[in-house]
């Protein structure tokens, strides 16, 4: 019998950085799948900012919190090592919600078989949550039109980088906001954004005036923080704001104030908050919308690889510090 490792949530994290105290690292015996089940060895695990929310009990959230004592929730890619399920064979590559674990037994529900030509990093960085979220947010709610201006916060992040590239492919003036010069250079020089703002060191208002001289039509909000009020102040009439993430406020006791609502009337602005679980029933349609951009070479990405299951714990803190360079993936 061999063992494998999994990580369970042990306690609700206090505000501030995530620490090892919140988790139990446990050893388990690799199980044998029963009839109708399959055994998966996870090879690549996605870390996403939403996980920080999943650790907190919140009766109002779109998804139940991870229970104390439960394996931490995450999506990943793995290989079928044994199958007693008619739909899966040994060697198949599969993707889905697998959790922080090296092995798992599944009955196949919610698992997707992955085409052999798609490498796991592309799956997790583009065709999993980041790409579907970007596609739903931009096309489902943003109504992007050629010649318009979009500002994307968290623009070097997994969702923001795809939103900006999709918008660029549609002919918009694309401005990305990120937290350091290297990220700004990457979205501008590698991804083709029209402009980048370093919200930590630039004069945000001056840079926005320069990069969006005719105002902002779409604001794709991934972060919250100081950029929000500046962009809000420059929104054009009939502007659309899509609220996808507020990482700047997730770890705080006292979330920052939002903008006053008078401009919503004057400029007839719509603000739309969304969360992907509502739209997963349309994952197929979203994938089909996204695929031509990927096939056409319009979507570049980079990955930030952590090694080993236990690196996940401190890895979450990279979302607070902005220390990651690309999509965070844990290799097992």
């Amino acid at each position: 019998m061999s063992n494998y490792t999994s990580i369970k949530l042990a306690a609700r994290p206090a505000p501030g950085p995530i620490t090892a105290d919140s988790f139990d690292v446990v050893q388990n015996e690799i199980p044998t799948p029963g009839q109708g089940q399959l055994l998966i060895k996870q090879t690549h695990m996605s870390l996403d900012p939403a996980m920080i929310g999943w650790m907190q009990p919140d009766p109002e959230s779109y998804i139940p919190p991870v229970g104390i004592g439960e394996v931490m929730r995450s999506s990943g890619v793995g290989t079928v090592v044994e199958s007693k399920h008619p739909g899966f064979a040994k060697g198949d590559r599969v993707g889905g919600l697998m959790g922080w674990t090296e092995y798992l037994v599944s009955n196949g529900d919610g698992l997707n078989k992955l085409p052999a030509e798609l490498d796991p990093e592309t799956v997790l960085a583009v065709f999993a949550l980041p790409g579907l979220t970007a596609t739903q947010g931009l096309f489902g709610f943003g109504d992007p039109k050629e010649g318009e201006t979009i500002v994307v916060s968290g623009a070097a992040g997994s969702v923001g980088s795809i939103v900006g590239q999709l918008a660029k492919a549609e002919g918009l003036n694309v401005i990305g906001v990120a937290g350091d010069d290297e990220k700004c250079a990457w979205i501008r020089d590698e991804l083709g954004f029209d402009g980048a703002i370093n919200y930590k060191s630039d004069d945000i208002a001056a840079r926005l005036a320069e990069l969006a001289p005719s105002g902002v039509d779409i604001y794709f909000e991934n972060t919250g923080g100081p950029i929000q009020h500046h962009v809000f102040d420059r929104m054009n009439a009939h502007g659309r704001i899509i609220v996808c993430g507020m990482i700047a406020d997730y770890g705080t006791d006292k979330p920052s104030a939002g903008p006053n609502w008078i401009p919503l009337i004057k400029k007839r602005i719509t603000i739309r908050g969304f969360a992907m679980p509502d739209h997963l029933s349309d994952a197929q349609g979203l994938s089909e919308k996204l695929t031509p951009y990927v096939m056409g070479g319009k979507i570049k990405f980079r990955t930030h690889i952590l090694e080993g299951l236990e690196s996940s714990i401190d890895g979450l803190n990279l979302f607070f510090t902005g220390g990651n360079r690309g999509k965070l993936i844990v290799k097992l």
Copy 2:
């Protein structure tokens, strides 16, 4: 030759109450209409909160400000006293944007002939801006569904009182927010709202918990002010917020902070700001939507009548103090 009075904007008002310094009251000679024109004697003039915004230059607003030296903008009802226009005859009742004036010459653009059976107060209180705004906001953006809960701020106001009655007719649980006990009693006992909150004297959070035990699905915002954060905190998943007015902040230098946007994601809330001029091209359709409710006796209203053109000036301050009892109409 006889004279008539009109009132022109003389200066942009400073923050705070509206004073006579901002206006010029002028005497004019009653003109003779030219070919294709008609002369109207205005009999009833509407005062609306939006006027306070129209006095301020704001490049971002949905409508140009009233120019210095121009007759103050308003809608009204009048009688044709002389016509050289083929579409109008002496004695016709007409409605439209007439301004703060006892007489005006028009070429007919933007004027509506009014059915003889509709009295001018019903026109201004229901079928003009208030009713069209309520209909567009509630049905165009609110997506009201039987059994849902709606909170309406400014519920005793011209728009809010109609929104609440339309929602009641649709089978919603309707909670109105107003600034004194008499208004609360009126919306509850006369208009049939399910509950009323006096935001000045009630424990807002406790009253909301009591009146909206299953949360709030639609928030129709006419005022801003202290109620906003309380209702926002009780919004349900997939809630809709329609922002129609923010009178509590119109006269201030420092508009109050809005709510943080995290709940927009968790609860997938949409906030939609709107202004009626965008929707006047659909005035006919909105009237047709509204008419059956009025004909069916579902829409009650009351008017607060001021006498004489010059009463308009101080009349605007009633929107700040909440001192009006019903739709503000100036009888000329």
